[in-house]
Symmetry: C2
Subunit: 124 residues, 2 copies
DNA sequence: ATAGCTGCAAATGCTTTGCAAGGCC
DNA sequence: GGCCTTGCAAAGCATTTGCAGCTAT
């Protein structure tokens, strides 16, 4: 998987990949991933986690989620789908149903933020 | 306007309000606003701009836009509408047409990020 | 008068980077 | 072996905060 995306499969990157993709549809930030590595008694510097997440993102393995948090969130599901964000709990969830957006019980929608990402078309 | 939103109309806040709302549908961050203040030969500390933007946001005069920029963007239009974001130029635009999302000429859509903001419903 | 603001600088928190040491092909 | 990667610490940014002095009401 790493090789297929042009990344050398080092010990650290293999660990990160294992933690990230063992279960699907995960939402993580650098701290969380770093903590998980420590729980597995693996040494992994925080800087390497940041660099690794950026590499994975550029390789198309992760997608950055646009939540107004002070931290950067990544989603292991790179396909098109929407997110719930609970600011008070700093938590990110997937919108399961693709048709209707139904908030989880006990929560109400305050507002919806839609950002269409653009890229300049190169001239020939 | 400031008084109506519970903010004391100090010199600095009046200046910020003037810069922000003189024209409509503006997208700004703290740096931009600070620069504009300097162009008008007004002294306004960057910290005051940050604090002011936060106050304006909490007062409902501004809305924070969820772009994956390292800086926080604010929109003077607090109504529901969508945004374009051009990462390479660090620029935010409104989606004009409410029905179809048509990118400006010369740009193509890379992906769409939708975040539904939730809030916990307080128990009675 | 007095509660609330502002300015400055320092602190904070997240993220990136420089560089020497180590690992992968 | 040679080049890419890691780890650590330091640097870099954006943003917030502490506090003394100032300002609306």
């Amino acid at each position: 998987m790493l090789i297929a995306h042009g990344l050398r499969p080092t010990k650290q990157r293999r660990l990160m990949a294992r933690l990230l993709f063992f279960s699907s549809g995960r939402h993580i930030d650098a701290q969380i991933l770093h903590n998980e590595a420590y729980k597995e008694n693996e040494r992994l510097s925080l800087a390497t986690v940041y660099n690794g997440l950026r590499e994975f993102e550029q390789a198309g393995l992760l997608r950055r989620v646009a939540v107004p948090s002070e931290r950067a969130w990544f989603d292991t599901d790179t396909g098109p789908h929407r997110h719930f964000y609970i600011q008070s709990e700093n938590r990110v969830l997937d919108v399961k149903n693709d048709a209707a957006v139904t908030p989880p019980p006990g929560y109400r929608i305050t507002h919806v933020d839609t950002v269409v990402h653009l890229q300049k078309i190169e001239a020939d």
